[in-house]
C-alpha cells in the first residue's frame, strides 16, 4: 500500500463515521418532529 492509500482509507473512514452520524441525527430529528406535528392534529 502506498502512503496515499492510507490517506484515502482515513478519509473514507472519517466520511462514513461523520456522514453516518449526521444522517442518523437528521433522520431521527425529522421523524420525531413529524410525530409531534401528527399528534397535534
Amino acid at each position: 500500500m502506498t502512503q496515499m492509500d492510507y490517506v484515502l482509507a482515513a478519509y473514507i473512514v472519517a466520511g462514513a463515521g461523520i456522514g453516518g452520524l449526521l444522517l442518523w441525527a437528521y433522520v431521527a430529528m425529522r421523524r420525531a418532529e413529524h410525530e409531534v406535528k401528527e399528534l397535534k392534529r
Binding site: V7, V13, A25, V36
Partner: protein, 238 residues
C-alpha cells in the same frame, strides 16, 4: 444562560442555527480537506501520510472539547437542573463518541505507515480510548434506568468523573514515553508551517460546525420525543 434554558426559546434559535451550522460546516470542512490533500505540501519526514492531519487532528480536538461541553452540561443538570442541560448531555454523548471513534480509527491508519503498527498501548492512545469508553458509558447509563431523570443523573455523575481524563490526554505525551508526537500547537504558538496550519484550522472549524449541527439535531429530536411521550401520557390519562 438561564434565559435559553426554556425549550421553546431554544428551538426558536436552534432551527435556523442547525441549517447554518450544517452548510457552513460542510463547506469549510470540504474546502479545508481539499486544501490539505491537494494543495498543501507533503511533509519532509512523513511524506504524503501527513495529509491525514486534516481529519485526525480536528476530530481529536473536537472529541476533547465535546467532552468538556458534556461536563458543563452534566454540572448544569446536577446543580441547576436546567431543562435543557440533560437534553444537551444526552445529545452530546453519541456525537462525541463518533468523533472520538473517528479520531482513533484515523490515528490507527496513520500509525501504520508512520510507526509501523496500527496500535500501541501508550499513554496518548490508551487515554483517548478511555475517552471513547467514557462517552459510551454516559450513553449506556442515561438509558439504563426506567426513570429518565435517574438515568440522566447517573450519566451526569459519570461525565463529571470522566473530566479527569482530559488533562491526562493532554499531558500524556509529556508525562510518558510515547510514539505519539507532542503537541505542535500550543497557547504560545505553532511549530506547523503556515502552508499546513491554515488548511488544518479551516477543516477544524468546518468539523466543529458539523459537530454543532449534529448536537443541535440530536437536541431537537430529544425535545420532540419528550413532547410525544408527554402528549401520549396525557391522552392515556384522559
Amino acid at each position: 444562560m438561564h434565559r435559553f434554558a426554556n425549550p421553546a426559546r431554544f428551538l426558536k434559535i436552534a432551527r435556523p442555527a442547525t441549517a447554518i451550522l450544517f452548510w457552513l460546516g460542510a463547506g469549510l470542512a470540504a474546502f479545508g480537506i481539499y486544501w490539505g490533500v491537494f494543495i498543501a505540501p507533503a511533509d519532509y519526514l512523513q511524506g504524503e501520510s501527513v495529509r491525514m492531519l486534516y481529519v485526525h487532528v480536528p476530530t481529536a480536538w473536537l472529541s476533547l472539547s465535546g467532552y468538556a461541553g458534556l461536563g458543563i452540561a452534566a454540572f448544569a443538570a446536577l446543580v441547576w437542573r436546567h431543562p435543557l442541560a440533560e437534553v444537551a448531555l444526552m445529545a452530546t454523548a453519541p456525537v462525541g463518541a463518533v468523533f472520538s471513534a473517528v479520531c482513533l480509527a484515523t490515528g490507527s491508519i496513520w500509525g501504520r505507515p508512520t510507526w509501523g503498527t496500527w496500535w500501541v498501548w501508550d499513554g496518548r492512545l490508551t487515554s483517548m480510548l478511555v475517552l471513547f469508553f467514557l462517552y459510551l458509558g454516559v450513553i449506556a447509563l442515561a438509558r439504563a434506568y426506567d426513570e429518565p431523570g435517574q438515568g440522566a443523573k447517573m450519566a451526569s455523575i459519570l461525565a463529571l468523573l470522566g473530566l479527569v481524563n482530559l488533562p491526562i490526554i493532554k499531558f500524556s505525551v509529556e508525562w510518558w514515553n510515547t510514539l505519539h508526537q507532542p503537541a505542535s500547537i500550543t497557547l504560545s504558538g505553532s511549530s506547523i508551517d503556515p502552508a499546513m496550519l491554515w488548511p488544518l484550522l479551516t477543516s477544524a472549524l468546518g468539523f466543529g460546525f458539523l459537530m454543532g449541527a449534529a448536537i443541535l439535531m440530536r437536541m431537537r429530536a430529544l425535545i420532540a420525543e419528550q413532547k410525544v411521550s408527554a402528549r401520549r401520557a396525557r391522552m392515556a390519562a384522559a
